[in-house]
Symmetry: C2
Subunit: 641 residues, 2 copies
């Protein structure tokens, strides 16, 4: 492996300063984005380059506002209940329908409900009509030459209606800004290529494409380029030529394969390299031939937030639009979040309404955690000068999902099992309004969350060593102040998760102490960890004698993945996790995976739906395929306190 040069000098520019500086520099170059004409019927989502004035009035004629008869108002004067007046067709009146034009000499409408038909050509009225009564005058809605939409307006469906009614067929809009996307890196492969050692599937460019389209731009993705200066240079020159702005992805960390900053410096100018943000620090903001060229880090979450912070406002600027910001909502944060003073941080949060309080819980903060973006309900922005937030603090969260969805979400915090994703899937299928949100913090963490009023339910599987019983005594112990119930869930099999064929012939807990055996554990507070410690105690084994006892994973699947990859020789987990990754499994025993729920929620529509799905045929079928589950008591409710 070659020795590499290191560029250790990244700046740490404040995000707002960076935005300000960058935008002032690119501003000089952003005027004069081309204007094009489009058909009104194809203009949805486009941004007007100039105001649009009506060509015609609407209505374009004086029109009857009701079905009835058109009369000359003067003719009807004197008609009353005491003195009904008869009118002759085609002399005093004509029948007319809503929207029909009012012709001379008529100048008023009497609605049909106020007209009595006497015979074929005669009607009777008992009330006079005032001039222009029940007539929609020309231009009542749109007057020719009035402005229908201003410039820099994004065309919505309702605007289409007004434009067409005003006689407009074509409008002038801004050309969509072209955004070049260059994925780079020798480790990158396209999704359809076979996975190889050390390879990473290129995905950020597709996320960018999607976001660019949402913001009204035209994405232009180039094929991935390896870390070769010459190839990168050639592609970058082409990209700058063909687009209004360019995003180069990956290779922007201060590492030896970092050509991006050198390239931008050579072909143009690097304004900033290194932003005080987490994730996303090694961002590069540059200009080549007057066009913005950005180096965005490769880690998916970094890529997302850097794009959101810098590329999105640029696209908005090209289109003369304000930056589309996410709606904000106030919430209470459920756990302490620590943040360094040196950077601004974007923390992904889950949100839930519990007892009319909006609770926000942080998700995994690793910069590569794509799933944290998928699962996030909102973002908490911790400013650079802040050390974080305390549990219970009121915070502002930017919404990534609809508040409506969040209101209709069951908040589950506690122990992880594969069935929770399946439950969420079936709940949403049963009733599209509802969602299940699962946070995996372990069984004890779940009970603590219930105690603090942050969840509707906690999945737990806590073995009471003294009684050999599951769950009930823990609920009594930790939640003595709340009226609690236990919804029975499933019985599942726990055991040793081993590589296929169990090459190291691991059979029992004593084997874990072997020098050649690497163990991987669960986190403290997890029901599985409690089971492990119970078993070790039963076997009189000290955790310290096990290599890897301190290595903690937070889900069954993570344990299975570690074993499958060779990062560990054995772990303890559920059969379904081993089965999912085609691993060997030696059962230790059954355990009960139940749901602790405050009794006040039992009548809640969402919880009733949860129980219904828990007892459903579809779930049973899925569990049978997943393996290792028994569900004869599923949905049974036990009142504890």
């Amino acid at each position: 492996m070659k020795k590499k040069e290191r560029n250790l000098y990244l700046s740490n520019v404040d995000v707002e300063e960076a935005l300000d500086l960058y935008f002032r520099r690119v501003d000089e170059h952003l005027y004069g984005l081309d204007v094009e004409k489009v058909q009104v019927i194809e203009s949805q989502g486009r941004v007007t380059a100039s105001p649009v004035f009506a060509r015609l009035s609407s209505p374009n004629h004086n029109a009857a506002a009701m079905d009835g008869i058109a009369v000359k108002a003067k003719t009807t004067f004197g008609a009353s209940e005491a003195n009904p007046m008869r009118l002759k067709q085609n002399r005093d009146f004509v029948f007319i329908d809503t929207g029909d034009p009012i012709q001379e000499p008529y100048d008023a409408v009497i609605m049909i409900e106020d007209v009595v038909e006497i015979d074929e050509e005669t009607v009777e009225i008992i009330k006079a009509a005032s001039p222009w009564h029940d007539i929609r005058p020309i231009g009542e809605d749109i007057v020719a030459h009035e402005m229908i939409v201003p410039s820099h307006h994004t065309i919505r469906p309702v605007d289409l209606g007004a434009l067409l009614s005003g006689g407009i067929l074509e409008i002038e809009v801004y050309r969509k800004p072209k955004v070049g996307i260059m994925p780079t890196g020798s480790e990158i492969i396209e999704p359809h290529e076979p996975m190889g050692e050390g390879k990473i599937i290129e995905s950020n460019s597709r996320v960018f494409e999607g976001l660019i389209k949402e913001y009204g731009g035209n994405p232009n993705r180039y094929s991935p380029v390896a870390d070769d200066y010459g190839l990168l240079r050639e592609q970058l020159l082409a990209a700058v030529e063909e687009n209004d702005m360019v995003i180069i992805n990956a290779g922007s960390s201060a590492g030896s394969e970092d050509y991006t900053v050198k390239l931008i410096r050579e072909l143009g100018e690097v304004l900033i390299h290194g932003i005080a943000t987490r994730p996303g620090k090694p961002t590069i903001l540059g200009i080549i031939q007057g066009k913005p060229v950005m180096g965005i880090p490769g880690y998916p979450v970094s890529a997302y937030f850097v794009f959101d912070t810098f590329a999105k406002p640029l696209i908005a600027k090209y289109l003369g639009q304000g930056v589309p910001n996410r709606p904000r909502v106030e919430a209470v944060v459920s756990k302490r979040i620590v943040s360094a003073l040196k950077h601004k941080e974007y923390v992904r949060m889950k949100l839930g309404m519990v007892d009319d309080q909006l609770i926000a819980t942080p998700l995994n903060r690793g910069a590569g955690a794509t799933m944290s973006l998928v699962r996030a309900d909102g973002i908490l922005i911790i400013p650079q000068n802040s050390e974080g937030v305390e549990a219970g603090e009121r915070i502002q969260v930017e919404l990534l999902k609809d508040m409506q969805d969040i209101h209709h979400t069951i908040v589950s915090i506690g122990s992880h099992d594969l069935i929770m994703d399946m439950m969420g899937n079936y709940i949403h299928r049963q009733n599209a309004r509802y969602h299940l949100s699962s946070a995996h913090v372990g069984s004890l963490g779940g009970l603590m969350a219930l105690r603090r009023g942050e969840a509707h339910m906690a999945p737990i599987h806590l073995l009471d060593e003294a009684y050999g019983e599951y769950n009930i005594s823990f609920v009594k112990k930790y939640l003595s102040n709340l009226d609690m119930a236990l919804i029975k869930g499933v019985k599942r099999i726990q055991g040793f998760i081993l590589p296929k064929e169990n090459p190291k012939n691991i059979k029992n807990f004593h084997d874990l102490t072997r020098e050649d055996v690497q163990f991987v554990n669960r986190q403290r507070g997890a029901g599985t960890r409690i089971l492990v410690d119970y078993k070790l105690k039963e076997n009189q084994i000290d955790g310290g004698a096990i290599s890897g006892y301190d290595r903690e994973m937070t889900t069954h699947m993570a344990v299975a993945a570690a074993v499958a990859s060779g990062a560990a020789d054995v772990g303890i987990g559920v059969l379904s996790a081993a089965k999912a990754l085609d691993l060997d499994f030696i059962p230790i025993g059954d355990e009960e995976y139940d749901f602790a729920v405050p009794t006040k929620y039992l009548e809640n529509t969402m919880i009733k739906l949860f129980i219904k799905v828990l007892q459903s045929h579809e779930l049973k079928e899925s569990l049978e395929i997943m393996g290792g589950y028994k569900f004869d008591r599923a949905g049974e409710i036990i009142i504890i306190n």
Copy 2:
């Protein structure tokens, strides 16, 4: 004109009841919407038909979390500051970059900042590494076989990233529901056709197309069909065959050209005809061959709300999604709104933040008012059993625009002039964050709005008869409790607006009393109305002697439109309105059109922007083209109290 049959029997079914009844009937037919496979990279906006599980883990290998060296943890035990340890390349360590795979026998990473390079193949460390330190294990983000997205999930850009990273190339999604749109009516013309007597440009179908696309459906618009039973029948049969649901537009009023209800009854079943909603009463909900077929009224605003109430949820149902509801916000209503008890009403509202209070003002309630939909910031729904709301009442408003935009809107309530649209256009061009919202209620109405704290400014042109002076004395009189300023605007010319060539030879106010002359007036409280009354008084003419004195229009353009159409022979208004419609004009005199503003707003960024635009070159150029304006004092600030 033929005599027509009348169907006077419309029901008045409660909206919620209608929805419930209709959905229970169509439910039987909605299962089994086809599923199709799409490429992940083309799946944005599509709805998953089944949950998607990862095929690969991500990372797919144990990866270095930092740039540095990969070591065997055991080897490093004992290293400390007091006891630095030297390591040899390729025996004890290798250099490694972030993301690179960890190869046997290495099992930990020490970041480069903690490594001192001694020579070509030797480094020194002062701290031991624990096993798996700074390594991202396989599956840290996504574990093979875990659920990435559930079913009935709409794919967003972030989901694309996770799916690709999980090795998924294709997913199963629901086919987009096909929605057939049939515009009908003999008065309908296509936008490109020449306007004719009594014709109406077909526009609702395009609004539906846009909305259907937004909701994830596939619109399928048919060419407009005249009111011919045979032709309609043929097209409806084809539409039912080719689509999942059909919308028939127009012709659904209880009028003689109403074939829609007969047709649906003949080919299938009419469940409901007539809903207790305003606008939108004559809606038809039917079923043909198991598919929903709706008759939606032709008036644009009725069409919009009926589509929103009935078609939108149906499309959501097809896709297994919850109905996308508009966000709600609480506001204070600025004027009394009366509503009948017999129907649910959708009132279009303008919203503005004034002194941290969100104020809602109703717009024009005519069902044909397309521009009210374009201009509306929100909808106030008045339930069926409510008689309306009082001024000052707190109400829930459904947002049609972003709250961000509403926060950045200058609220102007008062007298109308063409320059206000132009001002709004230029303000938004100057700074895409800002908007100008204009409500036309007349000069006095504007002052009252300021008094109630509902606006930032009131455009006024009120002539003080005693002093022959404009505006200042009225501000003093009506707003004595507020510190007020007057921003000078423009001088504009008022006069008689007359048909081209002035065929009736109208020269002065006395001519208005002629029997052959139809006048059209402005509404009480309008500055122009005050001018008219002043002039009549000056000429000793009684308003009652003028035919049409009671006929009130609310804007200059409406007056001009009435004259242009022949609905009136003369009106009083500004030169620019006459010029816009190519009408004759006899000047009466100059008047001053200024802006009354509470002094506390003068330092407001938005107001300063307003003044800047008022004094801008672009505005002056536009005013010159519009005609009749003088602007030498524009932007001057006079402190009144």
